[in-house]
């Protein structure tokens, strides 16, 4: 922190170059004002003075301080990103890559033994610096080596340490095919080996992108930022006109009465700097940079600030059910026997049928049987114990045990089985199954020797705290839509607003388009290649870092933690950025009222002594009033830096309540604070005998 602080101080002087200043029009005007007063100061040393040299010097110092404080705010905001970029850069170094040919890959594919396969690859490989790798080349990376470049895994599976990028120390599995086939340059292979095809050359890799993102090197102003800047520029121009014309008005007022014009350039420049929206002008870029940096700290990389702002405005959120709303898979919740079978009998059969079923659903049946009736797991081997695995044809699984045939499966599959055995399917079972389904559960039927015993009720398990999350979202005005297949009741139970059945990629894309056509802004998360079209269509698309290259390319943000609920945090950060800008703008404009009461009497009392009644703060002298106003103007920037970096606190709640709160705090506060502060500074200045 200390070094960051030092670096920021250094940078705030480096930013005094005109080129840096031009990027911020409001502060550029302050910069020019400071230059002008400096010239006046130098002239005053040669006797060409329009005001006491000491007064000009004081104003000059304060104006330069105003410029430096603005620079400092920006430098401090950039500091965090720079530190993070330095850490990332250390992960990025040239390594020797083992390049292999297509034939070697084909040969290795044929080889069943991984150890032999890697021998073949090694033999065919040649060494090349990672900086020279080009797209489409294949490379081999083995345990203990750093991945030389971003790639799409073609062969092999390995555990990879991605902590250099994600900060997460637990290794992840990367393998060819499927949604976990992306390999990021700079990560470390911990075990086994992989062959990957280069997908990004040096300089364009994910790591490079990350570095430039966190450094905000490629930072562009967002539309809202530009719109706000327009307002600030317009206000600045108006106040420039106010000050210029005031000189003329003063000249007329004085000469027509045969007096000298009391309005000096130094005082008018100081008035201009007081009135121009310097507070928000100085902090504007810091707010944006700090927002991005907060996002980075939440382990989200945004490709543009625009996406972050859009996130603040999203009103439809597409969430995958699995993992987001529910805990992975469904769990057995009850045994419902039919046709006079006892519950224990059903539980016993169900447990037997599930013993070999390693899916979470199967495990949950065993657990439930143990909890309810203390039925222990039995040995899976032994006489007459044959496991019948699930097949797509029968859509059932089970065991043949002790001469009994026990099956469990979807109700219609079991029905087909029972009827196939010549039995008739129990109507009570159908009724029970329907009831379970209507309550939002999934029924599984259990049969023994061609006779139905009952139904296992499987229920979605909703993650704890998720209801509150969605309630928060609703309060923000965001509609959450569950992307799932089966049942809308889970959606209702979790407090969701809508759901999309049959979540095929096309259905997702279609749904996004529909919402957008209605005028909504849609956000979604995705990881698979088949999510890419939907991600590309969504206004805010968060790709999981664990996902495929295609998904990452299509998204405009990457979540390094691969957490599906991260969107909620992104939305909050986006909103916070907007709120901070709005609140500080309000504060800045509201400040002008008090500044007028300080400065106008100070400037004009020599012309019209009666205007002393406007000096409601009873400031000691015109010079002290003027100085107090500009000093306040400079110090308030420093005082607000923490707020600009931290962001205005976001609270869920209706927009009107939020507006009332922020208006009271920053609007009324903006009116009141400068009265108190300017009076205080004036007392200090008078006590110090400065003016």
């Amino acid at each position: 922190m200390d070094s960051m602080f030092k670096r920021a101080v250094r940078d705030s002087f480096a930013k005094l170059s005109p080129r840096c200043q031009l990027a911020n029009p409001v502060m550029f005007m302050v910069y020019l004002s400071a230059l002008l007063v400096t010239v006046l100061l130098v002239l005053s040393w040669f006797g060409i003075a329009e005001a006491p040299s000491g007064y000009i010097a004081a104003i000059c110092v304060v104006l330069w301080a105003t410029v430096l404080f603005g620079n400092f705010a920006e430098a401090l905001a950039e500091g965090r990103g720079k530190a993070q970029a330095d850490a990332l850069r250390s992960a990025k170094r040239d390594v020797e890559a083992m390049v292999v040919g297509e034939e070697a890959l084909a040969a290795a594919r044929e080889e069943a033994d991984p150890a032999r396969a890697v021998e073949i690859l090694r033999a065919a490989g040649r060494s090349l610096s990672s900086a020279k790798l080009s797209c489409g080349q294949l490379y081999l990376v083995c345990a203990g080596q750093q991945v030389p470049a971003d790639g799409e895994i073609q062969l092999g599976a390995a555990s990879v340490d991605e902590s250099a990028i994600t900060g997460e120390s637990a290794p992840v599995v990367r393998e060819s095919g499927g949604d976990r086939s992306a390999l990021t340059g700079g990560t470390l292979v911990l075990s086994d080996w992989l062959v990957a095809r280069v997908s990004a050359e040096a300089g364009h890799s994910f790591l490079d992108q990350m570095i430039s993102m966190v450094e905000s090197a490629a930072r562009k102003k967002t539309p809202n930022e530009r719109a706000l800047e327009l307002l600030l520029i317009a206000l600045t121009l108006v106040f420039l006109a106010v000050v210029w014309t005031l000189y003329g008005f003063g000249a007329f007022s004085a000469t027509s009465q045969g007096k000298a014009n009391p309005l000096g350039i130094t005082s008018l420049v100081a008035l201009f700097v007081c009135l121009a929206p310097t507070t928000i002008g100085a902090l504007l870029s810091a707010i944006g940079i700090a927002g991005m940096s907060r996002l980075n700290q939440a382990n989200v990389l945004a490709k543009s600030g625009r996406a972050v702002e859009a996130a603040g405005d999203v009103d439809v959120l597409l969430l995958d059910k699995t993992g987001t709303i529910t805990l992975g898979n469904r769990q057995a919740a009850a045994f419902i026997p039919v046709d006079g079978v006892s519950e224990r009998e059903l539980a016993d059969a169900a447990q037997l049928a599930s013993l070999a079923d390693e899916t979470p659903e199967g495990r949950s049946v065993v657990v439930l049987a143990k909890e309810r009736f203390g039925i222990r797991e039995r040995a899976l081997s032994g006489n007459g114990f044959t496991v019948v695995p699930f097949t797509a044809a029968t859509r059932m699984s089970g065991v043949d045990f002790d001469g009994h045939v026990i099956r469990k499966g979807a109700v219609d599959a079991v029905r087909a089985y029972v009827e196939g055995c010549g039995g008739s399917f129990s109507p009570q079972c159908v009724q029970m199954a329907n009831q379970v389904a209507s309550e939002g559960g999934t029924p599984l039927a259990v049969a023994r020797d061609g006779k139905v015993l009952g139904v296992i009720q499987l229920k979605d398990v909703i993650k704890s705290g998720i209801r509150e999350n969605f309630a928060d979202l609703r309060a923000m005005g965001i509609k959450t839509v569950m992307v799932t297949g089966d049942n809308p009741l889970t959606a209702a139970e979790a407090g969701l607003d809508d759901f999309i059945a049959e979540a095929t990629p096309e259905a997702k894309l279609e749904a996004i388009r529909r919402y957008q056509a209605e005028g909504h802004l849609v956000a979604m998360t995705g990881d698979g290649t088949n999510d890419a079209p939907a991600l590309a269509q969504a206004d805010v698309a968060v790709a999981m870092n664990s996902g495929t290259q295609a998904a990452k390319e299509a998204g405009n943000m990457v979540d390094l933690d691969s957490s599906p609920t991260k969107l909620i945090e992104i939305v909050r950060i986006g909103k916070q950025m907007l709120m901070t800008r709005g609140s500080l703008t309000t504060f800045s404009i509201a400040n002008d009222l008090a500044k007028y009461f300080a400065v106008i009497p100070a400037l004009l009392v020599p012309l019209y002594p009666g205007l002393e009644v406007l000096n409601v703060m009873h400031l000691a002298s015109p010079a002290s009033a003027m100085l107090a106003a500009v000093v306040y103007n400079a110090l308030i920037i420093v005082a607000l830096i923490p707020l600009a970096l931290r962001g205005v606190k976001y609270r869920e709640g209706g927009p009107n309540r939020l507006l009332a709160r922020n208006l009271a705090l920053y609007g009324l506060g903006g009116v009141a604070v400068p009265f108190v502060a300017i009076k205080g500074l004036d007392l200090l200045l008078a006590a110090a005998g400065v003016a």
């Binding site: 530009r226 327009l230 317009a234 206000l235 006109a241 000249a251 007329f252 106008i600 012309l607 009666g610």
Partner: protein
């Protein structure tokens, strides 16, 4: 509070309430008329509308994009100005000139042409002393109809743009102007003129009449009126010339179309233009009628009446404060006036309050109310001397004008400016609640902000620049009509009035001189065309934006909180730029 002040405030409240009550149903009629919906009026005037449309070659279904619409609005303003300029220059050789007035000098004619074409109606010279009946009835009166019609047309274009579902044009400019004239301005003006004639306002083409004074008066060496038998009298006057002419028709549209330029220099303080208490009340109400009606039209047009009601509440609130301050200041007068015994506020032998510059028939309360209405509505007519107002009342008038036609404003242009401020407020408020700004479902991006910002800030810049030119150019500041704070107030008032397209003036200002004519004429054009250009361009941008879905968490741009913020933004952004100038002018006078 004195009884007189209480009564005056009560009357003001009653009149404002009455106006709102009339504006509500009238807005329904105006929307139907402008949108071409079938109505009784259309049955009667339909053929005339179609005939006019055929003459200019316009079709209602030929909806224009913003560029064409703007070209129409600017072209009609410029051509109207050129025609008026020609008439004023050439009135000496034109018909209907019984008093044989010569043509106006070029600078005066330019100023007056710009003034009437921009709905300002600033009059550098008194009408009855310099203008022929032809210039009045064909020159000025035509502009008195066209300029508010252009304003109304532009306001409707803006409303259509805001309402558009994403692919709409803004309507046809020529049809809009024809409809505004035929359905809105003409019928109202006709009724107004008939009432005026019935109450005694002249409506004739006969020459001016000379009448015998009941009691002769004297004139001293400096031209002041004195007792006939006073030793200072150098001349006895026994006769007076009564200016006649088509006054009633002119007065009606001057009041209704936020024009304000009187037939006579004394405007509605003259007994001819404003003969009875009834005409005073009706004319005063007419000032605010269209501006308030258009606010309700806004709610109807954008399909959200709450918007109209919120804007109405904001305007009425600001108006009420202005009326209360102005009336209180007028009834209290100033210590200086009281010290000199110049005014008597006791209320026993004459109307109470500051009678300086008031018409005795009309009195303090009604003049104060009129003064606020006329400066709020970018109107500019007067029934007393604005220069006679106390400095505080002049501050109120200057602030109302300086806000840039927001508290009512000119017909149509006032609403457009108000929408500009609403967009600014929506932007700040949305940011404060963490949402991307949108108004009526339309996103506000940099381009929209640029237009809104220029629209609301251009008038202030123009006013300041003009005031600075008047103050700095010695030849121009000779017109100030005084020195120090008084002279500066006169000059500032002229610059602010012209920039706001208001047209009222402080009597001390010597308006008919080349510099003020030129500077103020340019100012009126800029103060009119820049905001209109921004409003139409904004309408065009809004028209192509697809509205986003109505959102649960969206900020309510019609709630009381938003209204409060809107007032704050209007005052801070609109008035802060004037504060230093006010301090050197009327505030310096008030605190002297």
């Amino acid at each position: 509070m004195s009884d007189e002040l209480g009564a005056a405030l009560f009357e003001a409240a009653a009149l404002i309430a009455l106006l709102v009550a009339v504006a509500l149903p009238l807005s329904s009629y105006v929307v139907a008329a402008m949108e071409g919906a079938p109505s009784m009026a259309r049955k009667v005037m339909g053929p005339l509308e179609r005939g006019c449309a055929r003459i200019v070659g316009a079709r209602p279904d030929d909806s224009m994009g913003w560029k064409r619409y703007l070209v129409g609005a600017v072209a009609l303003t410029v051509v109207g100005m050129a025609v008026l300029f020609a008439i004023l220059i050439a009135q000496g050789v034109l018909p209907a000139n019984p008093e044989s007035f010569p043509g106006l000098p070029a600078d005066t004619a330019f100023n007056m042409a710009a003034s009437f074409a921009t709905n300002t109606d600033w009059q550098a010279v008194a009408g009855e002393a310099r203008l022929s009946y032809f210039s009045q009835a064909v020159g000025l009166a035509v502009q008195n109809f066209l300029s508010p019609a252009i304003g109304i047309a532009v306001a409707f274009a803006l409303m259509r743009g805001l309402r558009s579902a994403g692919a709409g044009g803004l309507g046809n400019f020529w049809i809009d102007v024809i409809r505004a004239v035929l359905y809105v301005l003409l019928p109202l003006a006709l009724v107004g003129a008939l009432i005026g004639v019935a109450q005694g306002t002249p409506q004739t083409l006969q020459p001016y009449e000379t009448v015998q004074l009941l009691e002769p008066v004297g004139v001293d060496a400096e031209g002041n009126v004195v007792e006939a038998d006073s030793p200072e009298a150098v001349q006895q006057v026994t006769q007076a010339v009564v200016p006649l002419g088509p006054q009633a028709s002119q007065v009606a549209i001057k009041q209704l179309g936020t024009n304000g330029g009187g037939f006579n220099g004394a405007n509605s303080a003259s007994a001819l233009e404003n003969p009875t208490p009834l005409t005073n009340l009706l004319q005063c109400g007419a000032i605010m009628l269209l501006p308030l009606t258009l606010i309700f039209c806004f709610g109807r047009m954008v399909g959200d009446r709450r918007q109209g009601r919120m804007l109405m509440a904001v305007v009425i609130a600001m108006l009420a404060v202005a009326v209360a301050v102005c009336m209180a200041a007028e009834y209290a007068a100033t210590p200086q006036l009281l010290d000199d015994g110049a005014v008597y506020v006791g209320g026993v032998e004459q109307s109470a309050g500051n009678m300086e510059g008031k018409e005795c028939r009309i009195g303090t309360g009604e003049t104060a109310l009129w003064s606020v209405f006329t400066t709020a509505a970018a109107h500019g007519s007067s029934n007393g001397s604005m220069a006679g107002l106390t400095p505080l009342s002049q501050v109120v008038a200057l602030v109302l004008m300086g806000l840039g036609e927001v508290v009512g404003g000119g017909a149509g242009t006032g609403l457009s400016s108000l929408v500009g401020f609403v967009i600014l407020t929506v932007f700040i408020a949305s940011l404060m609640v963490g949402r991307a700004p949108e108004y009526l479902g339309k996103k506000i991006g940099p381009a929209e902000m640029r237009l809104a910002v220029i629209m609301v800030m251009a008038p202030a810049l123009v006013m300041l620049a003009a005031a600075a030119v008047l103050a700095l150019v010695p030849a121009a500041s000779a017109s100030a009509g005084g020195d120090g704070a008084q002279g500066f107030t006169n000059m500032l008032y002229a610059a602010v009035s012209a920039g706001a397209n208001n047209g009222s003036a402080l009597g001390g200002f010597e308006a008919d001189a080349p510099w003020p004519n030129l500077v103020l004429g340019l100012e009126m054009l800029l103060g009119r065309l820049v905001p209109i250009g921004c409003a139409v361009a904004l309408a065009g941008r809004m028209a192509v934006l697809k509205p986003s879905a109505a959102q649960v968490g969206a900020l309510s741009a019609s709630g009381p909180l938003f209204a409060v913020l809107l007032v704050a933004v209007v005052l801070l952004v609109g008035a802060l730029s004037l504060v230093p100038a006010l301090a050197l002018g009327p505030i310096a006078l008030a605190t002297a």
